[in-house]
């Protein structure tokens, strides 16, 4: 669901194909019949934007027919935990949870907490809801639990009530999915889950690029926990990333609200005045996040070296603190208002790749300077003379620098792929002419900036002055023309971490300390370079074809599957011989198996939780979800999310339909950008009656920068088109290959109509709703050019991860051309 894997991950799709050949059932739930649908055993149509209703339907199916994996759910999830008395579910409150403040459009999640005395991390969990920072600590008490699951405020009963109305009939009404197909999906999932069998769910941006994307993934998490599919071979939820190393870019990261390794970025709003306060509030006493101070201090030591001392909080004050939302979408809006002076763009192409293209391009005109670093001249670099707005170059005040960069084969480095696997690749050839690797550009920019600020005494410049910045190799590599290339391995070693005193690489993050004696750039990557000359990401041992632990390096600590403790029963025996993965070996007194256990290695299954400990000591020997404060998989999320503890169906911000489940139409906390240049259609807008979804095709790549300059790829998908059903085409008098104009409240574009049975109308309560599809690969540079689908997309933000909603919005179409 939410993924077109065959088209967008064709190489990875060989594995589902192999599984299919060995008898697995592939189900594709998608608004379009795509190449993935063609390869699937079962295609199930769903209206864009209704994924939570569908998954909620499955959850209800499993709960109401008592098909959940009892032993797993009782032992490994928070089903038995009891929730606060103040909690009011969306079911009883018109689609809104307790704690909502309509004025600020945000939730106070205090009432979602576990029942009992106030917990130490509750108050700041809302503030620190970075990726992975999900902690309510049961530290001061064990959460109140009812193992019979009968307590009305137990998570299990709340869950049951919350999804009771998500019936197969409701799914048909909301999603437009025929009831019999939905029931077929439910049946296949249930039959392929349990002790002997497991099912996996794959998703991609079809889920994330919605105004409640994180909640869709949560819904999948609930379903997989109920079916016992987490932490087990063949199970899990697979996030298919959109680019080759986008996983790496969130790990290291390029996200504004995170420091490397998913540590929350210090923030003024959260009151992170001192390192001590930041660490106290960010660390969670229960679970592995209790180690946060070790990771943070080691990070500061990696960044500031000898200048970071205990007396100056290891340089904590040199890190700029967040003052608000600095995400891409918000920054684009600010840029359009002239609030941003300069912009450096690496491998990104907002002029046609980001939502509301017209606004994005206008934003570029407001800059003083723009540096575009890419393989080709992007739409972003060329807006000043080639944008469809037809601006006169003499009227553009922005000074633009286009820096040519190196392709993957022209530089050393790592890719981190979807399953957290780091693979190192070697440079094969020098980049042409003046082109340099991204690493070269960043390194030499930093070097020159440091030289410029060498003598500055201003406090805000001290961080730059003290930044460690020594990545040039000891010996220059005489094979290459470019002699001042920094060493990618030196960067990887810094990420791995070392002791400060003797600069010895550490074996993994267990060796990190919070007293300044270790330095580590990205704690989760620690172990990738455990010894001189031992780059684990270089390993290419094919192994058994099963876990293949010696191929590359998988974070954390080369574990291939997270939470794999859940692959055994509470006593440490595999749930089944067929699905065995790791297990407790009583003779040796440790966990062993095919993969590295994601659990303290000698902690016996019957270990009771320590009442006065910290970290995973607070968990029992049968609590597999070690990053969680209570060690359990969260069916109900007492904290960590900004839009509710349970996934709830809302309509997209733009929808032709009314929410059939709740009076509340759309996400109460998704961010809109109510501005003149970003109008959003009201629900059921008669002027824009059709749903539109955007996507990619195999032949082109994202905004086209890497594919529209390649003749062999361009000829395969040469023109922008809209996919529409024969039914809609007939209604509008459109023939295949006719020119059509697609319009939204933001803009209008012209393209060819590709009339195909692969698109279909959806029926909702007898009403027919049409959906059209738009690939977004084209722009105004390259061998092939064409209209930009993103011009139609509204600026908006999902509240947890700040992503725009472009998988479901509304449009109109007509036959003809713009002019």
């Amino acid at each position: 669901m939410g993924s077109n894997m065959a088209e967008n991950h064709p190489v990875g799709f060989r594995w589902p194909m192999k599984a299919r050949e060995r008898g697995a059932t592939i189900i594709h739930v998608d608004p379009r019949f795509s190449r993935t649908s063609a390869a699937a055993n079962l295609y199930v149509p769903i209206r864009s934007g209704s994924d939570i209703a569908f998954l909620g339907g499955l959850i209800n199916y499993v709960l109401s027919r008592d098909l959940w994996f009892h032993e797993y759910v009782l032992a490994y999830t928070n089903a038995s935990s009891i929730i606060n008395e103040q909690y009011v579910d969306a079911e009883e409150n018109g689609g809104i949870f307790s704690g909502y403040d309509p004025k600020s459009g945000s939730y106070d999640n205090a009432s979602w907490a576990y029942a009992g005395p106030p917990q130490e991390a509750n108050e700041d969990a809302a503030a620190h809801s970075g990726h992975g920072m999900e902690g309510t600590s049961p530290a001061k008490h064990q959460p109140a639990r009812d193992e019979t699951l009968q307590h009305p405020r137990s998570v299990f009963q709340i869950l049951k009530r919350h999804y009771a109305r998500y019936t197969p009939e409701m799914v048909e009404q909301v999603c437009g999915t025929p009831k019999d197909l939905f029931l077929q999906v439910a049946d296949v999932l249930v039959k392929n889950s349990g002790r002997e069998r497991t099912s996996a769910i794959c998703y991609a941006v079809g889920w994330t690029q919605q105004s409640y994307g994180a909640q869709i993934i949560r819904a999948a998490g609930i379903l997989q926990l109920l079916l016992g599919n987490m932490g087990r071979p063949g199970g899990g939820i697979m996030a298919l990333r959109g680019h080759a190393s986008i996983q790496g870019s969130t790990d290291v990261p390029t996200l504004f609200d995170l420091l490397p390794g998913y540590l929350p970025h210090p923030s003024v709003i959260k009151g992170d005045d001192t390192l001590e306060k930041y660490m106290r509030e960010s660390a969670v006493r229960g679970g592995y996040w209790s180690n946060l101070p070790k990771f943070m201090v080691s990070l500061l030591k990696a960044w500031y070296g000898d200048a970071a001392t205990k007396d100056n909080e290891y340089g904590y004050q040199w890190i700029p603190k967040l003052t608000g939302d600095h995400s891409h979408v918000t920054t684009s809006a600010a840029m359009a208002d002239g609030e941003v002076k300069g912009f450096i763009v690496f491998g990104q192409n907002p002029a046609n790749g980001s939502p509301n293209g017209g606004l994005q391009r206008k934003a570029l005109t407001q800059l003083d300077w723009l540096v575009a670093v890419d393989l080709y001249e992007t739409e972003t670099a060329a807006f000043w003379y080639a944008a469809p707005e037809g601006w006169k170059p003499s009227d553009i005040k922005t000074e633009i620098f286009l820096l040519p960069t190196a392709g993957p084969a022209e530089k050393d480095g790592t890719f981190t792929n979807t399953q957290r696997l780091l693979q190192f690749h070697d440079k094969a050839v020098d980049p042409p002419g003046d082109a340099r690797s991204d690493l070269w550009l960043v390194y030499h920019l930093g070097r020159r900036l440091k030289a410029l600020y060498r003598d500055s005494t201003r406090p805000q410049d001290q961080g730059l002055r003290h930044l460690t910045w020594d990545y040039l190799p000891e010996r220059t590599d005489r094979r290459w023309r470019i002699r001042d290339e920094p060493s990618a391995e030196a960067v990887l070693k810094e990420m791995n971490g070392s002791t400060v005193a003797d600069r010895k690489l550490v074996a993994d993050f267990a060796a990190l300390k919070d007293d300044g004696s270790t330095a580590c750039g990205v704690w989760i990557y620690s172990g990738v370079y455990p010894d001189e000359g031992k780059n684990m990401a270089r390993r290419r041992v094919k192994g058994d074809g099963w876990v293949s632990s010696e191929w590359g390096f998988s974070w954390p600590a080369n574990r291939r599957m997270l939470y794999n403790r859940a692959s055994t029963d509470p006593q440490g025996k595999p749930w089944s011989e067929r699905k065995k993965y790791i297990w407790w070996d009583p003779a040796q007194g440790k966990w062993t198996g095919f993969d590295r256990p994601d659990f303290p290695e000698t902690k016996a299954p019957d270990t009771p939780p320590k009442a006065d400990g910290t970290g995973v000591d607070l968990h029992s020997g049968s609590d597999p979800f070690t990053l969680k404060a209570d060690g359990r998989g969260w069916l109900f999320a007492p904290s960590g999310l900004k839009d509710g503890p349970l996934p709830t169906h809302y309509e997209p911000l733009e929808s032709p339909l009314r929410n059939a489940l709740y009076p509340r139409q759309d996400s109460p906390v998704a961010k809109r950008f109510p501005r003149k240049d970003n109008p959003i259609s009201p629900p059921g807008d008669a002027e824009y009656p059709y749903i539109v979804t955007t996507y990619r095709v195999t032949e082109q790549y994202t905004s086209g920068v890497m594919s529209r300059w390649v003749g062999w790829l361009s000829e395969l998908m040469p023109e922008m088109f809209a996919e529409i059903s024969p039914e809609l085409a007939a209604e509008k008098g459109i023939e295949n290959m006719d020119w059509i104009v697609v319009s939204s409240r933001r803009s209008q574009i012209e393209c060819r109509a590709l009339v195909t049975q692969r698109m279909r109308p959806f029926r909702h309560n007898g009403r027919v709703i049409h959906e059209i599809g738009l690939p977004y690969h084209w722009g105004y540079k390259g061998l092939v050019t064409g209209a930009m689908a993103n011009d139609l997309v509204p600026l908006s933000e999902e509240p947890n991860v700040y992503i725009q909603e472009d998988k479901a919005f509304t449009c109109n179409i007509r036959k003809g051309r713009l002019r």
């Binding site: 065959a6 088209e7 064709p10 190489v11 799709f13 060989r14 194909m17 050949e21 019949f33 190449r35 993935t36 649908s37 063609a38 390869a39 295609y43 025929p178 095709v697 195999t698 032949e699 003749g711 062999w712 790829l713 361009s714 000829e715 395969l716 998908m717 040469p718 023109e719 088109f721 024969p726 039914e727 295949n736 290959m737 060819r752 590709l754 195909t756 049975q757 692969r758 279909r760 109308p761 029926r763 061998l783 092939v784």
Partner: protein, 280 residues
Amino acid sequence: MIDTYKRLMNVEPPPPAKKPRGFFTDTSLCIGCKACEVACKQWNRLPADGFAMTGNSYDNTGSLGATTWRHVQFIEQAKANSSRQDQRWLMMSDVCKHCANAACLEACPTGALIRTEYDTVYVQQDICNGCGFCVPACPFGVIDRAPKHGQFEPGTAHKCTLCYDRLKDDMTPACAKSCPTASIQFGDVEELQQRARRRLAELKARGETKAELYGMPEGKEAAEVGPLHAFFLLLDRPQTYNLPELPRLPRKTMAQRYGWSAAVGVGFALVGALVFGRRR
């Protein structure tokens, strides 16, 4: 005397025969990614053929040609009702069949078309004079003449070489190498044929009743052109994929055609004699 000729003309002995090599293209595994098309063009340095959308599903390649040696077809099927019953999207990577009795080779008057030691059909570019006889001879419409403007000598014939240069170095042809789902399988033809029979039985057992093999020695399509060394597993009738049910070999019908030509000639002569003869 022949030996002397060979010595004087510096004629190399042909390389020793190898096991026949070919492709088994299993369309039930194709995901239509077109990696084969791109890999083929990249390895063989073939140019892009222009940037025009066809509107025929996702097929913007159109057909095999002088500079397109792999072509992925897209066939959309569904009942024209709202539930789209029996919806399928068939994909098939087409290629030169490297027929055992190759019509193009028989039609070639210059000897430019040869059978290699791998039992594949290959055009020697330094010998082809661009006569074009091979083009109408091919019952599959595979071989094609180079356009007037382009990187090849205008008019010369081109088609898949089964990556002859790669075979010489014991490498897998570019298309098969790049195929992510093993839809294109390369190997010894006999072994591939056995694999194909097993695969068909497997699919039939799974309920793919429409599945069939195309180009096997026992198939009726092999009656004239012989077994195809690039053969296919199809999920529908050959016509669905633009493949002839019975590919003809021009030679087989030549006597008949000469006969017809002669008869027509005689007929015209008779009519001429009758019409013009009287005037005298």
